[in-house]
């Protein structure tokens, strides 16, 4: 955006623009460097090789599944955290947000001790004939584990901003709580929910550490695109760079498409911001 095009006073001192530009360069330069390194004549064959396509397909499928899982688990969590005060709420929030600051490898180890063969739940699951570790399910669990906080944080913020005035009015108009949730609460926070879901998807797509630790790297089963890139880097740098660019492209496409304008569900003039 051209900063001279605005007619209003921005209140930003000029030197801020210089630092902001440096920040933008810091983020963009590595991408440029990577693009410069791409072996263009070989680009299409590299990204359409069987192993690449398998990894990409697996990444998209598992990320979609874990985003769905994040919505199913995260919406109630965000509602409980934003709406009903209860003892231990701050503690619960802290634990829900823990994966944000936890190294993913640690998350993977924790998941292994929960769902692995000798794990807390894994033993009982094993007896029931269900084996989770080192399966595609494990990939989805690992991704959900690291991506869930993104959805909870954006949705809780949206819920708090929206307040509960509309819900109160809906209740006095005779709507039972489930109706209020479906017809008022969710539509009001849909932009926040969408933003959270996009972030969760993007985080799932890039998940590496927890996946490698908890799910391993089996081609077609648990080897997602980031794992494939890491593996290729050892043997075929060109392939790694090409796949990296592919991952960037997919991520940019997803985020770009969802962030065009947050106008989902709510009229732009609406009270919700």
């Amino acid at each position: 955006m051209n900063r001279r095009s605005g007619t209003g006073y921005t209140g930003i001192p000029p030197w801020i623009y210089a630092i902001a530009a440096a920040g933008a360069v810091f983020v963009l330069l590595p991408l440029v460097a990577m693009v410069a390194k791409v072996n263009w004549p070989q680009f299409i064959p590299l990204i359409t090789s069987e192993s690449s396509l398998t990894a990409l397909g697996l990444s998209l499928r598992t990320s979609t599944a874990s985003t769905a899982a994040c919505i199913v688990l995260g919406v109630p969590l965000a509602l409980v955290l934003a709406r009903s005060p209860f003892p231990g709420q701050r503690l619960l929030r802290a634990f829900v947000l823990l994966p944000l600051v936890l190294p993913p490898v640690v998350g993977g180890i924790a998941l292994l001790y929960t769902f692995g063969r000798q794990g807390l739940l894994g033993k009982s699951l094993e007896l029931a004939g269900i084996q989770i570790a080192f399966s595609t399910t494990a990939v989805v669990l690992a991704q959900t584990f690291v991506a869930l906080p993104f959805l909870v944080v954006s949705l809780e913020g949206a819920l708090r901003t929206a307040g509960n005035k509309y819900e109160a009015v809906a209740a006095t108009l005779g709507a039972r709580p489930s109706t209020v949730l479906r017809r008022v609460t969710i539509p009001l926070v849909l932009p926040g929910l969408a933003a959270g879901a996009v972030l969760s998807f993007a985080r799932s797509l890039g998940e590496f550490g927890a996946t490698l630790t908890f799910a391993g790297s089996l081609q077609g089963v648990t080897r997602t695109l980031p794992l494939e890139i890491y593996l290729q880097r050892e043997t075929d740098a060109d392939a790694a760079v090409a796949l990296s660019l592919l991952l960037v492209a997919v991520a940019v496409a997803v985020v770009g498409l969802s962030y065009r304008r947050p106008r989902i569900g709510v009229a732009p003039e609406g009270a919700f911001r």
């Binding site: 209740a171 108009l173 209020v180 539509p187 609406g270 009270a271």
Partner: protein
């Protein structure tokens, strides 16, 4: 088929009892923080009192005591709430907003639409049906909100200062509309405006510090206010104290002589009430016999119609601008407020 409420909420110093007939509208008046919104929140089920009971048309809304815990959820109460802001659901059209209540009650979408169109027409907003709330002016939005509340077919309509957020052109329109739709309905309206009480309510209740300080038919409360707040609304001066042969004696020892009710007993709590127009202002003490003369310090002067209203010592006097100029009145000056005893009504508090 009455509405009865007794509720106490210690944390807010709230303790109120009231009864409401089937087609009666009462206005709740009171200063900020008196507990007016608390009252509506308790009735609508958004706030739980410590103890009390409420019955609406034979249904128990809540019955709370040490050994009883009956509490019905807001959506089962039939008490639609209309607030200062219209709070139309921003993602729904005006029509869908109004249809929300009937839909929630289980009506089919076509029946709910029918009901919504009826109520939109009733509030002269039929042409706004397809608009989004963001495309409505404040007055239009509030009209749609009235339709939405009425479409829910509430047994008791709760209005929390519905005119307060509207501009001076939109408010009279909505007031007329409310007068029309509230006729024959049971409603409680919180207001700051005496006009709302006069036009819309059969009775008024004055709430101060979480308690009812005065209640009665609107006209009676305005003509013979017993609380300082009601007197202020009616534009009257009120001095409270103990009745003696001389008149009303305040806690500070000021004696106000006036025309007394025959039924007044000596030593009883009483109030002396008089209009600001009955007060004359002098720079020196006057010595006429049937007169009250009080030295007071002027706090403020403000235009009031074609008069100047002089606020002093918690009382007010209306004088002409010319008189004000002649006397050279300024805030901080000490003057004498002089009132003929015949212009002061004294009756029980």
């Amino acid at each position: 088929m009455t509405f009865e409420l007794d509720a106490t909420l210690a944390a807010r110093g709230f303790e109120v009892s009231l009864r409401l007939g089937p087609a009666e509208t009462i206005a709740i008046l009171g200063p900020n923080g008196a507990g007016k919104s608390t009252l509506l929140s308790i009735i609508s089920g958004l706030l739980r009192p410590d103890a009390g009971k409420a019955v609406l048309g034979g249904r128990v809304l809540f019955d709370l005591a040490a050994d009883r815990h009956v509490w019905s959820a807001p959506h089962t109460r039939g008490t639609a709430l209309l607030a200062q802001e219209a709070l139309l659901f921003p993602h729904l059209s005006a029509l869908d907003n109004v249809a929300f209540g009937p839909r929630s009650a289980g009506a089919s979408s076509s029946a709910a639409r029918e009901t919504a169109l009826h109520w939109l027409a009733e509030v002269d907003a039929g042409d706004l049906a397809s608009r989004r709330p963001g495309q409505l002016s404040g007055g239009q939005a509030q009209r749609v909100a009235v339709a939405r509340a009425l479409a829910a077919d509430p047994e008791l309509l709760l209005l929390d200062e519905p005119m307060a957020a509207l501009d001076i052109h939109a408010a009279p329109l909505l007031r007329r509309l409310l007068k029309r739709v509230l006729a024959g309905r049971r409603a409680i309206i919180i207001t700051h405006d005496i006009l709302d009480a006069l036009m819309l309510a059969d009775r008024v209740i004055v709430l101060e510090d979480g308690r009812i300080s005065e209640a009665g038919p609107t006209r009676e409360v305005l003509e013979r206010p017993r609380s300082r707040f009601a007197a202020g609304l009616a534009g009257l001066n009120l001095v409270a104290g103990t009745v003696s042969d001389a008149g009303v004696t305040t806690a500070q020892g000021m004696v106000v002589a006036g025309h007394q009710d025959g039924t007044l007993g000596r030593g009883q709590e009483g109030v002396a009430v008089f209009a600001p127009s009955a007060v004359s202002v002098f720079l020196t003490e006057e010595h006429g016999s049937p007169r009250n003369s009080f030295p007071v310090k002027i706090t403020d002067l403000e235009p009031h119609g074609d008069q100047i209203r002089v606020h002093a010592g918690g009382l007010s006097a209306d004088i002409t601008p010319a008189a004000s100029a002649d006397l050279g009145l300024t805030p901080g000056m000490t003057v004498y407020f002089v009132i003929k005893a015949a212009a002061i009504a004294i009756y029980p508090a």
